[in-house]
Symmetry: C2
Subunit: 189 residues, 2 copies
Amino acid sequence: MRRYRTNVDGKVQTLNFHVPGDFCNLHTNLAQSIEYSIGTVGPAVIAYIPHDRIEEISRQNPRLARTFNWLAFNEFSILQEWLFNVGSRPSPQRLAHLLCELLIRLRAAGLTDGHHFYLPLSQAQLGEAMGITIVHTNRSMGQLRKEGLLTLEGRKVDVTNWPGLKKYADFDVRYLHLDNTEPSLIKGL
Amino acid sequence: MRRYRTNVDGKVQTLNFHVPGDFCNLHTNLAQSIEYSIGTVGPAVIAYIPHDRIEEISRQNPRLARTFNWLAFNEFSILQEWLFNVGSRPSPQRLAHLLCELLIRLRAAGLTDGHHFYLPLSQAQLGEAMGITIVHTNRSMGQLRKEGLLTLEGRKVDVTNWPGLKKYADFDVRYLHLDNTEPSLIKGL
DNA sequence: CGAGAATTTGATAGGGCTCAACCTAAGTGG
DNA sequence: CCACTTAGGTTGAGCCCTATCAAATTCTCG
């Protein structure tokens, strides 16, 4: 799924993607208003949990309370990285960085096969996450292929040169704070 | 103060400004690593509060615990707005939006005089918050002046046409969640 | 097979960057 | 008190990255 916002001209800016297992709205209980929309980018199974229930669980179980806070911090961290990405990297690098992040997050969710994964996003949607147009997204993608970093078949992405992609994107996994992730899922990253 | 990050080429991206009274690092107790630097943009008085102490206070005083969470949510909200700003608005609008935010945040901190305020930032630093160069920041500023939205004397900003600036920037205060702010400080915004 | 959606490619325009110079204001030191 | 220095603001010219417009091609799926 994705969290996004539409501006006055109709242009969409994606604020984050949510992979299976993620919360979408965990810490909005304090807000009178939220400033974004949430939508699916593919088939999704959604569970609704009232904020009351989350708070109740937090009171009863400090360890889970801590986990909830950790999740919120993680989202913050990703958002910060996106701002940095959009604000400071040229578009091919920006795309490379986004793909690195998605690979790792999907991998941590058990949804990849080595460096090969299914990405349910159109190039238009990728562009909306980076603040660039469809056409330019396509050309940036072409660039990454030309550099021999990855190949595409439909929406299957195959990162043929992971170290190269990471280096190209100046990608540093640490902001995803995977320290508590099942090690077998993220080894070699 | 500001939170920022420097990329491989030496380019700086500011992630947020912190006005007097703000925390800079409230919710990083859960992290093994943080991905940014913090620096001053002018004279500053800084108080250090250990995370342990914050947690202790939170346990003893649920109302303050709630406030701490609210502060974190607020930062999240601002970060999100910045991503939207940088990702989707042309540079003069982007600058206008940033100035709207700074005016209101400084005003809520009691540091403005009507629509007139002192902004301790160079144009270079403003540019770093928007992902554009010094020169272009200067030209965008010129644009805002030409539109009759504000005037500058040194670093004193005078927003001569607040409704105009707000409209120009497509600025909607709600993301700053000022509902609990002393009303006299923010009336007429 | 046909139709709509997504990807790809080309040509052109424009926003923002780079390089460079100039100007102003505010120190600094003799 | 003034020459000198330095940081920041302003302006101009040319180029490059990205947007826009448009059309062709490929893919997907009923």
